[in-house]
Assembly symmetry: C2
Homo-oligomer: 306 residues x 2
């Protein structure tokens, strides 16, 4: 059940209709690791941070069971920084600032203690770096899942294609699935994308839930209607963390169990958006997750029999 999570650990400054933050903790690997830590410990993180990341953040992650051995600390550089502003509908956002800093030269290291990796989640990063991590694993993990975004489709499509050939599960949103496949219909898009490599495809649809594809099978997970989406930052990473966390915990990678993993991922993401940044993910109880998952059951359940 050894789980490795790769991605940025960073700072974000976020503006939503509900408020504004200064630099707060962010980054794909932060959200993924925190979410997955509710399912398995340790979560072995691979990332890079700068001198400014701080002992408090490292300590908080360690306290949640995140193994930081694979997280390089660059003493002369700053951490990755992103700043963005969400529109009123929370479905779109403008990037205000992107400072790559330590990410610009990220050379991911896989510590010896990570070589037992069975479940590998490659969070959103350059597809070159994602592929390097796979290549630096001595044995192929049992399951490799990958998140990416339209940015890499724009500037590094060939590298992304090369990386997609090596993975099992791709996790992207509907807009990205349409761009990657050139198809508007998500059913057609899924066929095109699965022919690129991944046997499993998760298409996230924000408030509308998520679709899971495998061969000719499709599963539709509902989106939980919420009174308020306070801050969507990290929701996709949190989904991915809950998804891989459930698979690693259960050790079952059947389609039936992957449907459950989508529900666990959705439940984790629905909590993430309730507060700024990863704040809510630091204070969840196991009962919270169970009760949220039960809400998904009630929300989606129907029977045809009378």
């Amino acid at each position: 059940m050894s789980l490795v999570a790769v991605g940025s650990m960073a700072f974000d400054a976020i503006e939503t209709p509900f408020g504004k933050t200064d630099k707060i903790l962010g980054g794909a690997a932060t959200y993924i690791s925190l979410a997955a830590s509710y399912f398995v410990k340790p979560v072995k993180a691979i990332s890079v941070v700068g001198y400014d990341f701080g002992d408090a953040n490292i300590g908080m992650l360690k306290a949640h069971g995140v193994d930081m051995e694979g997280v390089q600390v660059k003493k002369d550089e700053k951490s990755f920084f992103w700043s963005g502003r969400y529109h009123t509908d929370m479905n779109s956002r403008d990037t205000l600032v992107t400072e790559l800093n330590v990410l610009a030269t990220f050379d991911p290291q896989v510590p010896d203690s990570y070589q037992d990796c069975e479940y590998l989640l490659l969070g959103n990063l350059s597809p070159d770096v994602q592929r390097q991590v796979i290549e630096r694993m001595e044995n192929r993990p049992r399951l490799i899942a990958l998140d990416t975004m339209n940015f890499w489709m724009d500037i590094a499509l060939d590298s992304l294609y090369a990386t997609l050939k090596l993975i099992d599960v791709l996790i992207i949103n509907d807009e990205e699935a349409r761009q990657l496949s050139g198809e508007y219909s998500l059913l057609k898009a899924a066929k095109v994308i699965m022919a690129m490599g991944p046997q499993y495809l998760v298409i996230k649809k924000g408030e509308h839930g998520a679709l899971l594809f495998n061969g000719g099978e499709v599963f539709s997970a509902p989106g939980l209607p919420l009174e308020e989406v306070f801050d969507p930052t990290g929701a996709g990473d949190t989904f991915a963390g809950g998804f891989i966390g459930h698979l690693a915990k259960s050790g079952d990678i059947s389609f039936t169990n992957m449907k459950r993993a989508v529900i666990y991922g959705s439940a984790m993401a629905s909590y993430c958006v309730e507060k700024f940044g990863p704040e809510k993910l630091q204070s969840l109880k196991y009962e919270d997750i169970d009760s949220r998952v039960e809400e998904f059951v009630r929300l989606a359940h129907f029977e045809l029999e009378f």
Copy 2:
């Protein structure tokens, strides 16, 4: 199980990325009646048409079990005509032409033989006309469902409020729910709208499925991923027809059964969009409906137990 369906019977000219029609059969009551006729016969229609509507259309509807006694034929006027063009994503459209014709002075008549009405579906029409139909029923039907659109919210909001007080189920889309309630969150919107009168609210989300609300309960029906949406015209009316048809057939208006009705409505709508206008609705088999409904079961089903 007597079912009355009210709405326009009309002509549409439709442009989609896949093609273009001349004037073809359309109108809310046409789609509703055809869809509902797969569940109960007769479907007692209330509408108005012009001299141009034609015996062939009337005959086709009668052959599907639609009772045309409540459909007035105006010998000196033309039928309602709408023309529209869909955008590439099929989620938005431009209205090119609207000719009210017979609808401008529609004075709905309820024949004596319709006075046993138990299930009343008020398709999209002026809320004044919808309310008149309710008032002209000698006994209140067991269940009154209503479809409306943003147009009436813009120009006849007070009349719509008065009509909403009299109904049980409101069926609208997400954009309309947001406009009617002034709330972006559909959960908040549902609370505001149910306080206006209807105990039940269905929010249609197109390709993303539909939500059913009642008190504190919510049900999310998935949207069936389709290879192609050929023509979305009438999909909402078809949904409403399948929804009320299932309720009328089963005679069960519990929340549990209303969830099934949403699935049956979704299944009917998923067929409607496969061809231009109501063409597909004229040639369905009962087995088609059963197998599509089973697809919805497979699509949405998951279990938490291991």
